[in-house]
């Protein structure tokens, strides 16, 4: 087991290094950070620009391979370099990870929990009205892309607030910096409402479909019948025996979604103006910010591999068959 884990760690490290290097090369060869300085009024002398870009390791006059070595040397020691205007990528990343975490943790957990509950309920009530209603609505929700849903929510809230004459639900930003203490906490929660809805609705629909199908599969199996035959109440048999087994596939998806959560909400973050990791990627591409782009790519690659590992662990803990083999 230890040897297997070590080998896996080694291949993962190589994959991360390759992915990050490719991303750096792509960004460094196609992006033009010089443009942000050249267009300034009053004009900046070329030597000054060169010196600035050299200091940030962004000068396109340096051969790209040399820049890559400088960057890679920094990354190995834990330094991701400078942003296009000289800020520290590390600090920016730390701040943005926290923003994304505050935005996404609740939504991701809530989406999974509600989705599993809705799906299990739907399976138990198979072919009744509630099952059909849940099925149809999850199909409709899954056909609405998240950027459309977020835009619709923002428009609806804008009209609601205008109709009421005051701001009932906030639809942009993370918090109001002028408030403090308890008020600010409530304000933060208010800002969370819309993004959380836009994040959870889709995952509820997704998990409920998987969970319903798995649950139906399990409900007809012998071990559930045996559990009820030995005198367990239906509720206990369903929760303790059926649900646990039926959780395995949705748990796999959940582990993956949880691992990649921090960079997965590009649209929600952009539309509701939260400055998290997902929004950073779009901003960095638009600002020709080579080092930030490379840092986000590296972070994403690590997240994906971590997520794959997490899902393996979770399956092993839920499924005795995997543990034994």
């Amino acid at each position: 087991m230890g040897k297997f884990l070590l080998r896996r760690l080694a291949t993962n490290l190589i994959l991360v290094a390759l992915a990050a290097s490719l991303a750096y090369m792509l960004a460094a060869t196609t992006m033009n950070p010089r443009g942000a300085y050249e267009g300034r009024q009053p004009p900046v002398a070329e030597e000054v620009i060169d010196a600035t870009l050299d200091a940030y390791n962004l000068n396109d006059k340096t051969p790209v391979f040399e820049r890559y070595l400088t960057w890679a040397g920094g990354v190995v020691t834990g330094d991701f370099g400078k942003t296009w205007n000289g800020g520290s990528v590390n600090e920016e990343m730390g701040r943005r990870i926290m923003v994304s975490l505050r935005l996404l943790l609740i939504g991701t957990l809530l989406g999974f929990a509600l989705g599993v509950a809705v799906g299990a309920y739907s399976a138990v009530r198979q072919y009744r009205f509630s099952d059909r209603a849940i099925g149809v609505s999850s199909f409709v929700v899954m056909a609405v892309p998240v950027f459309l849903l977020a835009t619709l929510l923002a428009i609806a809230t804008y009209n609601l607030n205008r109709g009421l004459g005051f701001t009932l639900i906030e639809y942009t930003g993370e918090y109001n910096p002028r408030l403090s203490g308890w008020d600010q906490f409530l304000n933060r929660l208010n800002h969370l409402i819309l993004p959380t809805i836009s994040l959870t609705l889709g995952s509820i629909a997704f998990y409920s479909r998987i969970q319903r199908n798995m649950m139906l599969d399990v409900l007809n199996q012998d071990f559930v019948r045996t559990a009820m035959a030995k005198g367990l109440r239906r509720r206990t048999a369903l929760f303790k025996h059926a649900l646990r087994t039926a959780l395995i596939p949705s748990a796999t998806y959940f582990a993956f979604a949880f691992g990649t959560m921090l960079t997965g909400a590009i649209f929600t973050e952009k539309i509701f103006s939260w400055h998290g990791m997902g929004a950073w990627l779009v901003d960095a591409i638009n600002q020709n910010d080579v080092n930030s782009v490379a840092a986000v790519s590296l972070f994403t690659a690590v997240c994906v591999l971590f997520a794959a590992f997490l899902s393996d662990l979770l399956v092993a803990s839920l499924d005795p068959r995997v543990r034994v083999s």
């Binding site: 899954m142 056909a143 609405v144 428009i155 782009v293």
Partner: protein, 279 residues
């Protein structure tokens, strides 16, 4: 014979029937609809900027006087074509790579699966976002290739594991001993036996690609102007959606209907092709 059974099951499936009818109507709207309207999608009516829907401009006009009806249908044509092509490329590639890796095993398998892992780890959004604005002027087919290049990896893993068991079947072994070249065995015996999985996957890939194109275009990383797609129209409409709702409502509504119809067909196909499956 089997195709008849499957078709019968598909037509009896209510979801698939509604989805199919809706998709046919949408395709008819996209390709026949433009002939019914009075304006071409390149026309600009300088007497009507941002006019709401009326008898002349059925779905209103944009800020530069384009007829929304013509432009939206043109965008929908593009979205449909992109969806179909991406699905075709992605599923085809997944089938070939997965089947070759599974059938040959050894270093071919290792190499191909390693490539799959690498592509899964690469930031696809970043790569498409950097490359596609530079395709301005080039053919939009490159955008299709880009989208397809990042949509096939997971299916190819599934195909590979199914090929591993197909490889041991008697008829595959028999074909091998009859001296049929291996690549022919893969195309003739392995891939056709995976057809139900591949058909379902292709259908779901269509809706995935339609959404993916719209999402990328929403940030300006997708189809480049002057060409339009549902995604670019939604992105433009969303900016003024409160004041001029017709700019947003028509493309957004059509996008949802399109994806919904395709998903319904995909779900129905899964029931028809694979009655025992539950995933």
């Amino acid at each position: 014979m089997r195709s008849k059974v499957v078709l019968g099951r598909l037509l009896r499936n209510r979801q698939a029937r509604y989805g199919g009818i809706a998709l046919l109507l949408l395709i008819a709207l996209a390709y026949i609809g433009p002939y019914l309207g009075a304006y071409d999608w390149t026309d600009k009516d300088f007497l009507a900027f941002l006019s709401p829907p009326d008898a002349d401009h059925w779905w209103g006009t944009t800020s530069i006087g384009q007829d929304m009806y013509a432009v939206t249908l043109r965008g929908m044509q593009k979205s449909i074509v992109i969806g179909l092509l991406v699905a075709l490329f992605a599923t085809g590639l997944a089938a070939l790579v997965g089947a070759f890796a599974g059938y040959f095993g050894g270093w071919v398998d290792k190499l191909l699966m390693w490539g799959v892992d690498l592509l899964l780890v690469l930031p696809s959004f970043l790569i498409i976002a950097i490359i596609s604005p530079r395709l301005r002027g080039a053919s939009w087919l490159w955008f299709v290739v880009l989208l397809a290049a990042f949509a096939w990896m997971i299916t190819s893993r599934v195909v590979r594991s199914m090929t591993l068991s197909l490889r041991e079947r008697e008829y595959v072994q028999a074909a091998l001993y009859m001296g049929i070249p291996r690549w022919k065995i893969i195309l003739r015996h392995i891939v056709p036996n995976l057809s139900s999985l591949l058909i379902i996957d292709a259908t779901l890939n269509v809706s995935g690609a339609v959404i993916g194109e719209a999402a990328l275009s929403f940030f300006g990383f997708g189809i480049q102007p002057p060409d339009v797609s549902l995604g670019t129209l939604i992105a433009e409409g969303a900016r003024n959606a409160t004041g001029y709702p017709w700019l947003f409502a028509f493309p957004a509504g059509l996008l949802v209907l399109l994806v919904l119809a395709i998903n319904l067909i995909g779900d129905g196909l899964r029931d028809a092709l694979d009655p025992g499956s539950n995933s």
